[in-house]
Symmetry: C2
Subunit: 122 residues, 2 copies
């Protein structure tokens, strides 16, 4: 996996888990992503260094303002791409999987075009 993709996946995961629970810890990320704990420890450490995530004394993860922006950006791509693929007749599971891989690699320009296009179908 690409380095940027990896970071984005961690951010997105924290964002998604934060919507379901208000006390997200590393172990939750570990389980959700299916990665070993040390992988999560390091990855989140890097996100902290970059100022995208904060971990409080009790081990609760919070996205910073910028971290949340980035997470939302990816998550929006995720949902829009999934819809687009489903709109073309792809089943939900496959559409989600594809969106999840592609969301990291689409340029702003192309994503905007897709988003505008999809807006017609709402």
């Amino acid at each position: 996996m690409d380095s940027r993709e990896s970071a984005e996946m961690y951010l997105e995961t924290i964002y998604i888990l934060s919507q379901k629970s208000d006390a997200v810890r590393k172990i939750d990320v570990s389980r959700y992503m299916g990665y070993a704990k040390p992988s999560v420890t390091r990855a989140i450490g890097l996100l902290e260094k970059r100022g995208l995530v904060n971990v409080d004394d009790s081990g609760i993860l919070k996205l910073s303002k910028e971290g949340e922006q980035q997470a939302k950006r990816i998550y929006e791509r995720h949902t829009v791409l999934t819809k687009m693929f489903m709109n073309l007749g792809v089943d939900e599971e496959t559409a989600t999987e594809d969106a999840c891989r592609i969301e990291h690699y689409i340029s702003e320009t192309t994503f905007d075009a897709i988003k505008k296009h999809m807006a017609k179908y709402e």
Copy 2:
């Protein structure tokens, strides 16, 4: 870059260069991709081991049957995705760049759906 993506890019490059010239060598791949020669030496060595590329005594690269199949598969994705993005109003350069990144990550199912969709516009 992902390992599979890397291999696919080399195959696609050899395929593209083979359409312009019938004597493609490693140095050509090196220049086209902008990679140093040792990177190409190793990458093509791996493709040879996998039976996807053959290098004859004079250093000319040929895709094997399977190598060509894979290269064509990727190249088709490249062209179809580029068209789709341009169809949504994206400029050619951006469309090509995006297609080039995404072509490696789309499932067969989703690509088929896109392809069918694009067929309507021909």
